[in-house]
């Protein structure tokens, strides 16, 4: 079974990668880009019967730095 984890920097945490993308889009002539935030998506291929609780534990222990990042788990 598949699980997806989305990890984003929390609001208020500076996102230089996102800022760089915003500037680059402006330079390429894309107007109206008001903000860009860049995060990670981690696709996990898990053994059958794995639970969302396990994936949440993975996030807490490894996948996200919960001081500055928030995460969301999507199963299936």
């Amino acid at each position: 079974m598949k699980a997806r984890v989305f990890v984003m920097l929390k609001n208020g945490v500076l996102d230089p990668q996102g800022e760089a993308v915003r500037h680059a889009l402006g330079s390429l002539g894309f107007d109206g880009v008001e903000g860009v935030r860049q995060g990670k998506v981690i696709e996990l291929d898990l053994a059958e019967g794995s639970t969302e609780a396990t994936v949440t534990e993975m996030c807490e222990k490894l996948l996200a730095n919960t001081v500055i990042e928030s995460y969301r788990v999507e199963m299936g």
Copy 2:
């Protein structure tokens, strides 16, 4: 309005970051992790009236390296 772009390495392209995560999860005692792929999620804050076609153009020109990466756009 918001748009989200998901950028993943294409199948067959080596993903050392994903492999590192897989090993680390194993070391932490999480069994049954058969595969991990890591990608990017880019959240765009766009002016009203922006279209999916514009975001697709952003992907082609900047956000994804279409030689090795695939992308998916989600509006709204």
